[in-house]
Symmetry: C2
């Protein structure tokens, strides 16, 4: 089984991804997890409630999530983008089913009621933040769909143990999902040709990273890459053997990545 | 099996509905189909592309659907409202899964490329309208979920034979769904206590309608009720025995409706 995690950038080419999945599915079961951050931010702005990000004391940025942000999250991740991906997959002959973490309690999360954020030099406590961390996966549901020839296309949000809809980090969720399904390989596609030594130079791809040295890569992890590093570290802890980071904008994004065109971490 | 179709009004009480479904599920399998029209119209307005309705030559109003309208449809039906219902159901102990008609080609529709609309006294042809009529249901997927103890929560849009996402009428879809699953009973909940003789008087409920006289009820079918009459006529053609129209805003909406509090058509 291969787990493919695809970022929420607007230049991701879903047709190219679908074409590769058609090939890969002949040999292996596929599960897709996707984001929709760029669409979420666009719609949030149009609705005059722009996405607010906060920085944790350890320097990781995340989205401040109130009920309105959850609504926009549901609209863009579980609604607009999830169903558009499913339709592109169907057009390519992949019998896709789109589910959020709420459906059948697919992604169950421990809700973080309070989070610490940095405000300048101070640390502030934010209460009633609707975020969480995924801990339990409904793998029975995934096996049920896979064994009946469906390709699951999954996205956040998740559902908390108290049955609240909560925002969760997608890279962390992917790691937990891989662990629960004992998956060896994770493909991660985004809008860059891999992990870059210099984030402004697309030619500076780091081709190979020893998983035991992934921690030392944090200085190169610009912007959203920081969470990908954390997700990857968690995935290795949970038994994943190889993670591939590569470009979701190009022809044969997955097949070429498996052949080494991108960053391989093992 | 009971099919429950619930309108998209903002005063529908999903907790009350969930409480009744918990009781009913002890004896029968349940499938829910829902709308989200009021949320769709609200978000469409906020995004400065308000929902446009057109009138067919036979006097039936429907939504003019371009790509932008499909996007808003996906956001509000398949995203926001579908997942919120699933979470409310989960909170009540119902293991709900939300799916759109696109997922696993659940609702396959024949796309109407051109529609005729009335413009004053004239009739005009509208091309490239992304609407369709559902003809094929993926009943294998529904049986798979039901037999594994999941409660499907379904909504439009549908997917066309060409794999385009298309807007479809929900009452018609419900009828086709009932036919495909050989369901005898359809419960239809909306924001009125039943079919009203005088649409402004909630006390004027018509308690019983002979299905063979349903056509004569068209003069009482104000606004969105016109499509409910068409959907009901189609459902009876497809073998449904009894349709219940009742109030989705009140305590025990389904149980009381089955006991006769509303409009029964048979």
């Amino acid at each position: 089984m291969i787990l493919i995690k695809i970022g929420g950038g607007k230049n991701i080419n879903w047709n190219y991804i679908a074409e590769d999945i058609v090939q890969l599915r002949k040999k292996e079961e596929i599960i897709v997890v996707h984001g929709a951050s760029e669409t979420r931010d666009k719609i949030a702005k149009q609705l005059k409630t722009p996405t607010k990000t906060v920085i944790s004391p350890s320097g990781i940025s995340s989205v401040l999530t109130d009920q309105n942000a959850i609504d926009i999250f549901l609209m863009t991740y579980s609604g607009l983008i999830n169903k558009k991906i499913v339709a592109v997959f169907q057009k390519n002959g992949i019998n896709a089913i789109g589910l959020s973490g709420v459906d059948g309690k697919l992604f169950q999360a421990k809700q973080k009621n309070n989070i610490l954020i940095k405000k300048g030099r101070k640390t502030k406590l934010v209460t009633s933040n609707l975020t969480g961390r995924v801990e339990v996966i409904n793998i029975q549901l995934l096996h049920l769909l896979l064994s009946n020839n469906y390709t699951p296309v999954l996205c956040p949000p998740a559902i908390s143990y108290e049955d609240n809809i909560v925002n969760v980090d997608n890279d962390w969720t992917t790691a937990v999902l891989a662990g629960a399904l004992t998956i060896n390989k994770i493909i991660v596609l985004f809008e860059a040709p891999g992990m870059l030594k210099n984030y402004q130079d697309e030619k500076s791809v780091i081709p190979l990273i020893d998983k035991n040295e992934l921690n030392t890569m944090k200085p190169f992890a610009h912007g959203r890459m920081a969470k990908k590093v954390l997700g990857a570290l968690r995935a290795f802890e949970l038994g994943v053997k190889t993670i591939y980071w590569g470009d979701g904008r190009v022809k044969n994004p997955i097949i070429n990545l498996l052949l080494g065109k991108g960053t391989i971490i093992k």
